[in-house]
């Protein structure tokens, strides 16, 4: 059977691959959405922090022999702490100003981080060995799915849904959401709002770093790996709408699939398709698919 001249089986393979890429978009746009939700800052450093996550994992493996599994836990914490430092020393001083200053500051930070890493580790990047457990592939009938890719989908789904659950369904999450709406009131209830903001930023950065660790075995660990990705993720966030956590997750996966299909039918446009979708969505639904008009 064929659809538009492409065998159905091949199409299933491509859909699955698109879903895997979507997993990365979802993780990254989720982090951006969480940060934006509470801080109202577009974190331009997100791509650089994703890169730091990958480098940090590489560093642990090469210099200390600490492997992939521990890296999944250690790296988000370490990079998250650098995020906390950034928030405390710099971002915290900008909350009273126009939110655009946050964008400019994080843009500058991204340049600094990427520049320093390029000077320290060169431009061609570093290899990260695939963990032994994941060598090999599953035969799905329509394609060979490398074990690691399957793991990426599972892990990112768990992380995304877990985050959604915490924010939308727990008491901690309700404080968070309330602080987004009215920080003074929440402060008055005895919640330490500045600390919550700091931890939220750290958490969002940690999500980026976690995505970086997950990317390390399949993409070359290089200083520029986040620089171009971040703009695509911005478009994903705009399409999804900035108000919603679930929106960020669903749009991430959905656009991964859309991009995957484009790669089959018209590969030349695979980098632009997300921007085209963005333009269309903005024309039809200005606040994004899941967003609220502000």
């Amino acid at each position: 059977m064929e659809i538009f001249g492409i065998p159905t089986q091949a199409l299933f393979g491509q859909l699955l691959i698109g879903l895997i890429n979507g997993a990365f978009y979802a993780m990254l746009s989720l982090g951006l959405a969480v940060i934006f939700g509470l801080l109202n800052i577009i974190n331009f450093t997100h791509g650089a922090q994703y890169m730091m996550g990958a480098f940090c994992a590489w560093f642990l493996l090469e210099r200390t022999g600490i492997g992939y599994w521990w890296a999944l836990i250690i790296v988000p914490i370490v990079v998250g702490i650098t995020g906390v430092v950034i928030e405390r020393t710099m971002l915290a001083r900008l909350y009273k100003l126009d939110h655009l200053y946050g964008l400019l500051l994080t843009f500058g930070l991204a340049l600094i981080i990427q520049g320093v890493f390029t000077n320290a580790y060169g431009s061609s990047g570093q290899p990260y060995r695939l963990p032994q457990e994941f060598v090999g592939a599953y035969n799905l009938g329509f394609m060979f799915l490398p074990k690691y890719r399957a793991w990426v989908i599972v892990l990112s789904l768990v992380v995304c849904l877990g985050t959604w659950f915490v924010i939308e369904r727990t008491k901690l999450g309700s404080y968070l959401r309330a602080a987004t709406e009215n920080p003074t009131l929440v402060q008055a209830f005895g919640v330490n709002v500045p600390r919550m903001i700091t931890l939220t930023y750290g958490f969002g950065v940690g999500l980026a770093a976690l995505a970086g660790v997950m990317a390390a075995p399949i993409y070359q660990v290089s200083p520029q790996m986040g620089a171009n990705l971040i703009i695509v993720v911005f478009a994903v966030v705009v399409i999804g709408g900035m108000g919603s956590i679930m929106g960020a997750i669903l749009t991430g996966f959905g656009l991964g699939v859309m991009e995957g299909l484009t790669k089959v039918f018209y590969a030349e446009a695979s980098n632009t398709v997300i921007f085209v979708i963005m333009v269309i969505v903005l024309l039809v639904k200005p606040a994004g698919l899941f967003g609220r008009e502000r």
Partner: protein, 332 residues
């Protein structure tokens, strides 16, 4: 988004005189600079970016709209101009006009699409649109990919001014820059500019006063796109090439930096910012020495980032803005 430092009490004629004086001084400095041993190619580059930054400042400084995709206007005009001059053999004035027109049209389309969005949304959407244009230019055959359109002929302006002479080219750029600069000043201080500022300060109020805010913002956006295009078109003729650099998103970041460093919402700030950034770029290519440490050219990008961070944290009014504040404090 930035504090404007025009004291309300200043009478308009006095302000105009001050502006005329300052512009005359600037023009005199520009006229003398190449004879004082300053390299004219550097000056031309700085002037093109100064015009670009001024055009950008109209939008961000007076309209309160931070576009993160302005490189698309600079680059589009550059490509169209270079193609018209090289492949179609158009004279420079026609090629520049074509480039500027192309950017203006792009400004109309992108403006119509984005102008209803605000703040961060506006920044991100312009960024995404610019990225789309980048991929278009990367893949379109007429731009020659990463090679760019090279060896664009400068030709004869109006058929008799020979632009191949560096000094003639330089003074042409000075004239274009000054024309654009004065035009922008007039726009900012026209009734249109006043409404624009009112919208920036309080949009609902301006709307309730009966102004169609979106239309004013759109006009500002298109004007900004057109003048950015003019800068890009002239730049293509000066450097005789149009390349992907000018449409890449880092260029959009760079113009933000120029305006931020010089002083958002000030008249002369973008000019100062552009000169400082272009000077850093030109002279850091050989590296800098601080004490015993030698920082090679590879540190330029880190330095750029540092300037961003320092400006945002400690220096939000920019060079001209801080000087203006200092001046006001001292006067009383």
């Amino acid at each position: 988004m930035a504090t404007v430092l025009t004291p309300a009490a200043t009478a308009a004629p006095a302000r105009r005189n001050r502006f005329a004086l300052a512009t005359a001084i600037m023009a005199a400095i520009l006229a003398l600079a190449p004879f004082a041993g300053i390299y004219p190619v550097f000056l031309m580059k700085a002037l093109c970016f100064a015009l670009f930054a001024c055009a950008f400042n109209l939008l961000v400084g007076f309209g309160g709209l931070l576009s993160f995709g302005h490189a698309m206007f600079l680059g589009t005009a550059g490509y169209v101009t270079a193609h018209a001059a090289k492949v179609w053999g158009w004279p420079p004035e026609a090629a520049i006009a074509a480039g500027t027109l192309a950017s203006t049209l792009l400004g109309v389309v992108t403006g119509a699409l984005t102008i209803r969005r605000q703040g961060i949304y506006f920044a991100m959407i312009t960024l995404a649109l610019a990225q789309m244009m980048f991929f278009f230019y990367l893949q379109a055959p007429f731009t020659h990919g990463e090679d760019g359109i090279q060896q664009v002929p400068r030709g004869k302006l109006f058929g008799f001014i020979d632009l191949t002479d560096t000094l003639v080219m330089y003074f042409t750029v000075v004239v274009v820059f000054l024309a654009g600069f004065v035009f922008l000043y007039r726009v900012v201080h026209s009734p249109f500019g006043q409404v624009l500022k009112a919208i920036r300060e309080n949009e609902p109020r301006a709307i309730s006063l009966g102004y169609d805010a979106d239309r004013y913002k759109l006009v500002a956006f298109v004007l900004s796109a057109a003048l950015s295009g003019l800068a890009g078109a002239v730049k293509a003729i000066v450097f005789q090439l149009a390349s992907l650099t000018d449409v890449h998103w880092t260029m959009s970041g760079e113009v933000v930096l120029m305006v931020l460093l010089g002083g958002m919402g000030t008249i002369f700030g973008p000019v100062v910012g552009a000169f400082v950034i272009v000077a850093i770029e030109s002279y850091l290519t050989a590296g800098i020495v601080i004490g015993t440490l030698h920082f090679g050219p590879e540190w330029a990008i880190v330095l750029t980032g540092l300037i961003f961070v320092v400006c945002v944290l400690a220096f939000r009014r920019g060079i001209v803005g801080e000087l203006g504040a200092w001046w006001l404090r001292h006067k009383g």
